[in-house]
Amino acid sequence: MKVLVPVKRVVDYNVKVRVKPDNTGVDLSNVKMSVNPFCEIAIEEAVRLKEAGVASEVVAVAVGPSACQEQLRTCLALGADRAVLIETDEEVQPLGIARALQALQAKENADLAIFGKQSIDGDNSQTGQMFAALTGMPQATFASELVIEDGKAQVVREIDGGLQTVKVDLPAVVTTDLRLNEPRYASLPNIMKAKKKPLDVTTPAELGVDVSPTVATLKVEPPSERAAGIKVETVEELVDKLKNEAKVIA
């Protein structure tokens, strides 16, 4: 069974981003970039499937600029067998990424595609579902548990009110939630080995897809700041303020 894991290069989880003074976006110059945390969970899950003998090959793929090779190497160090970069310097949006991945899937014929449930930059939560729609695959999003059995994936999903279990026919799309696993750290020997693993580069044009976006960002602004309030000294004072000043409790 072949597993495709699309990953995204994003600003590191620990970086506090700042909006550019000209309001065209956030300032990403000289900030640390990483594999999107949910994509890291996706890689980990795929690698665990391989270690369990369920998967035979794990292919990491990214759509974006040449710099994404850095994140793909991280995926190789974490245990992916090979990587593909669909290189473009254009801004790519979820539908464009899904189309590029659909074209790649037509060649790869993966049995399972594991995506992160959302990227921590755009916070869209769309790409996995869009890829599933375009390829006609069923999907199990926000997975906290994944079992492959008899040509199907049984997935426990984290939904608003609790947990839901679904079974989908392979090939299928799974998107990861936080509790699916805890990703490992890449060991130094594996980082060295990753340098020798294959990383192919193609382009949307070579794959015959148009990835141009249809949504324009007009401006990006900082959120309205919330001013700090006051410190109260006692619980009594707190309850009094809530009742008589804020009037939020009776």
Partner: protein, 309 residues
């Protein structure tokens, strides 16, 4: 303009999130129809028809839609969406599940999690865990939009009298199957609909101590939430999580107990009207957004607070 609002419900009750989506539809302007897809949903259809501002309620009542399987729902919505300029739904785990499929099948972008409508094609949405607000403009023929549950006040539950018509499109992809659901049963209000929320963080030390929040929640009619740290530590289940990767809430009163205030948590609650923080660390970042901060040991403060309410 004509807008198709897809209802969020559990086959018996129309969720508040649908009324928020309706409010966003009104902000876009034009005629709004509601699609109710489910199984045995006569009651939900009547509730939808009672919302003010709705033109027609279209009801797709079929066992294939009983559990909102996204393969089936998305195919249905795509068929019904023909002729509309907008498809709008709530940005819930259900909306997030099927709506991107709808957009991809229509060959258009989706605009997720909007917090404001600027015009028929221009919307505001938070990015980077709410650390920036992007204003985006879609050039697609159909705008596919999901609405944050705190973006607008919900439209009234009653006052309208839309016509109800059956929609007999049956789409069953047959490649997915619903096995079961464990929905947390609680007498308390849902997090996303609660007027008061009291949340615990890592400072609660363990799951048993959440009982200290329950007494207060009972007195205030509050929902109980948690930070990601408390969920990751195994104190409480994930459906209680408030934050970037959990639920986004904006109650009248949010009480954060033993929560340090990581940006990912703030992303989920900083639009609350009044924020109270109780933490023994006076330098905790949560105090920077709190209207009322109390530097105290929560194990002393909570019982005292319960006694005073």
């Amino acid at each position: 303009m004509s807008i198709l609002v897809v209802a969020e419900h559990d086959n018996s009750e129309l969720k508040v999130a649908t009324r928020v989506a309706m409010a966003a539809a009104s902000a876009i302007g034009g005629d709004a129809d509601i699609l109710v897809a489910g199984s045995g949903v006569d009651g939900v259809a009547s509730q939808a028809a009672a919302l003010p501002g709705v033109r027609t309620v279209k009801v797709a009542d079929n066992p294939a839609y009983a559990n909102q399987l996204p393969e089936n729902i998305s195919a249905l919505v795509v068929e019904v969406a023909a002729g509309y300029t907008h498809v709008v739904t709530a940005h819930t785990t259900n909306g997030k599940n099927y709506l991107p499929r709808v957009a991809a099948l229509l060959g258009v972008a989706m605009i997720s999690d909007i917090t404001a409508v600027d015009s028929e094609d221009t919307f505001q949405r938070p990015i980077y865990a709410g650390n920036a607000i992007a204003t985006v403009k879609s050039s697609d023929a159909i705008k596919v939009v999901s609405v944050r549950g705190t973006a607008y006040d919900p439209v009234a539950a009653e006052g309208g009298s839309a016509s109800i018509e059956a929609c007999d499109i049956a789409s069953d992809a047959g490649n997915s199957e619903f096995i079961g659901e464990e929905i947390a049963k609680s007498e308390r209000p849902e997090l996303t609909a609660a007027g008061v929320i009291i949340s615990g963080g890592r400072g609660m030390q363990n799951g048993d101590n959440f009982v200290l929040l329950e007494g207060i929640a009972d007195k205030l009619g509050a929902a109980i939430g948690a930070s990601r740290a408390a969920v990751d530590a195994g104190f409480v289940p994930n459906d209680m999580q408030v934050g970037q990767t959990g639920k986004i809430v904006a109650p009248d009163l949010y009480v954060a107990v033993g929560i340090s205030g990581a940006i990912q948590h703030l992303a989920g609650m900083k639009d609350s009207k009044v924020i109270v923080a109780i933490n023994k660390d006076e330098d905790a970042p949560i105090f920077q957004v709190a209207d009322y901060g109390l530097v105290a040991d929560l194990f002393k403060a909570l019982p005292e607070m319960e006694a005073l309410l």
